[in-house]
Amino acid sequence: MAIKKFAVAAYDDEEVLFPAVSKVRKSGYKLHDIYTPFPVHGLDVAMGLKETDLHIAGFIYGMCGTSTAVGFISWIYCSDWPLNYGGKPHFALPAWIPVTFELTVLFAAVGMVLTFCYLNQIMPGVKKHVFHPRQSDDLFVVALELNDSVSEQEALDFLKSTGAKETNIQRAEASWWYGRWDKAEPYEALNA
């Protein structure tokens, strides 16, 4: 949770956005994030984001589901309340496979959805600063994080030179917060 200073640029064309992103990366400015109305193929590569590790998390969640199912069912049938079903052994693994499979899928799916939400900072009731109201409509919005020693005008000029349609400087909460919009974002006071 920290209030930071951002230089924000809005582009209206993918063909301008991609060269602009590579110029930003070469210039040394810290790229905070890019907001687009739809998934833009190849933008993750252009931004230099690394391959997600979400699937490794999914594997671990799946293994948790498997061991929960096998552990719990075997505790019930072998130790807590052993019953004789059709002369089968108490440890009747084949009969448990369907349940084990379902629990593996359930854990992996739910765990991955929650992890995905956490990584992307989205969740019901959770707020994030919106850099531009049209970032979910028809503009591609690039936010650069500035520190105090950078000239604001220089950053804005640089963004204009990459073909941005609109540019401005914003002070805003960088990460997500839970609660009301104005709880962490006194816009007017910050940007006065």
Partner: protein, 411 residues
């Protein structure tokens, strides 16, 4: 773009050597097992059962190539187009293995019989040929009889051979068609739908019942054909993968990128799991119901002399592909996909071995010079005929409607 494949001397020599090994094995098999002066009934059964196993296995895994083309054509998929000459070449050679299977099964049905201990004539592989008072086999004789067997087999092999060659011929005809002409495309589209009906009525139902399940004629399982199909499909995809990797290594197929390999590897991964699902579905219901008529199948396989193969089957065909191919980078790595493809083909060869051998040979199974030699012979035939077909046209399907779409494909 003209991308011609010329058979390297090394490949030709390897295939001829493998065929040579196969022929020598066949001759030795005839000399020692079939006609040897002290060969027992078991030896003779082994001779035929091994030939049956290999010819059926290779017919099934090559037939998959036609099915893949038909399914992808109907779904209007473009991912196969970059290397569609490979499944086309494999599919156009299904007739070779189909004819071998026909010859072997007809020899078994009409030419292989012995006197049982009670004086009746028995066929030690297809026992339904001489029901001889057996109530269960007589009850099934409306379907399990010589006429039905030969009829279904001949029609199936004929239709597979027809469609396999037709798809390839029409794809090549597209090369000389006017640019962007969709006439052939839609004709292939309609034929693909027809072929799926043929395939559904053969590979996914009757043919595994006749060729494979009737070896243990008293026993039946309703999802046996699906199980056979899953087994064949995953090894058929692995076979296509091996050819694509080989051609890539030879410098051909420049349109094929890692994205296309990734798609094929996904099929190998996903259908290994699908196979396991059917394998387990068949096993669990029989295990749970515990009816002696049904459990007899697993008595020999799981607890009897085949238990090694039974568990190896699960390990090779599920655990290893599942773990090795799970990560994304290993689906895009030439070494891992080649390794897993060979593993899967060997694993499903073992799977068919344990479907056929217990019914025919009982406890006296071998994997020895005869089994391995025959397998090598069939691999030799496969390499020889497919590589010969691949040389006959450009490896790039020029003028194909999906060509642009396949070059920009991302898995």
């Amino acid at each position: 773009m003209n991308d011609r494949f010329e058979i390297p001397a090394r490949l030709r020599n390897t295939s001829l050597m493998l065929i040579g090994v196969g022929v020598l094995t066949l001759i030795a098999g005839i000399a020692f097992l079939l006609m040897g002066h002290n060969s027992t009934d078991m030896d003779k059964t082994r001779f035929w059962a091994v030939l049956l196993h290999d010819s059926v296995f290779f017919t099934f895994i090559t037939g998959v190539s036609i099915f893949v083309q038909a399914a992808v054509n109907l779904a209007q998929g473009s991912w196969l187009t970059a290397y569609r000459r490979v499944p086309e070449a494999i599919g156009a050679n299904v007739w070779v293995f189909g004819v071998i299977t026909l010859v072997v099964t007809i020899c078994i049905i009409f030419g292989f019989s012995t006197k049982g201990p009670d004086g009746h004539t028995v066929n030690l592989i297809y026992r339904w040929v001489y029901p001889a008072g057996d109530k269960i086999l007589e009850g099934k004789s409306a379907f399990l009889n010589k006429g039905m067997f030969v009829g279904f087999s001949a029609i199936t092999v004929g239709l597979w051979a027809f469609f396999g060659n037709k798809f390839r011929a029409m794809s090549i005809a597209q090369e000389s068609a006017p640019k962007n002409d969709t006439k052939i495309y839609w004709k292939v589209f309609r034929l693909s739908g027809l072929f799926l009906i043929v395939y559904g009525l053969s590979m996914m139902s009757t043919i595994p019942w006749l060729w494979v399940m009737s070896v243990q004629a008293h026993w039946y399982s309703t999802l046996f054909s699906w199980y056979n199909f899953a087994s064949s499909f995953v090894s058929g995809m692995s076979l296509i993968m091996l050819w694509v990797v080989y051609l890539k290594n030879q410098g051909n197929l420049e349109l094929v990128t890692k994205e296309h390999m990734h798609d094929l590897a996904k099929f190998m991964f996903a259908f290994s799991i699908f196979w396991t699902y059917l394998w387990f579905a068949q096993y669990m219901l029989i295990w749970y119901a515990n009816i002696p008529d049904e459990t007899v199948y697993f008595k020999l396989r799981q607890q009897g002399p085949y238990s090694v193969i039974f568990y190896a089957n699960f390990l090779i065909n599920f655990v290893m592909p599942f773990i090795i191919l799970m990560a994304r980078p290993s689906k895009r790595n030439y070494f891992t996909v080649t390794f897993v493809a060979m593993l899967i083909i060997f694993g499903h060869w073992l799977d068919f071995f344990q479907m056929i051998m217990p019914g025919a040979l009982g406890e006296n199974w071998h994997i020895n010079w005869y089994e391995i030699g025959t397998f090598m012979g069939f691999v030799g035939i496969l390499i020889f005929v497919v590589s010969r077909t691949l040389t006959k046209s450009s490896l790039v399907p020029n003028n194909h409607i999906m060509l642009k779409e396949t070059t920009v494909h991302i898995a």
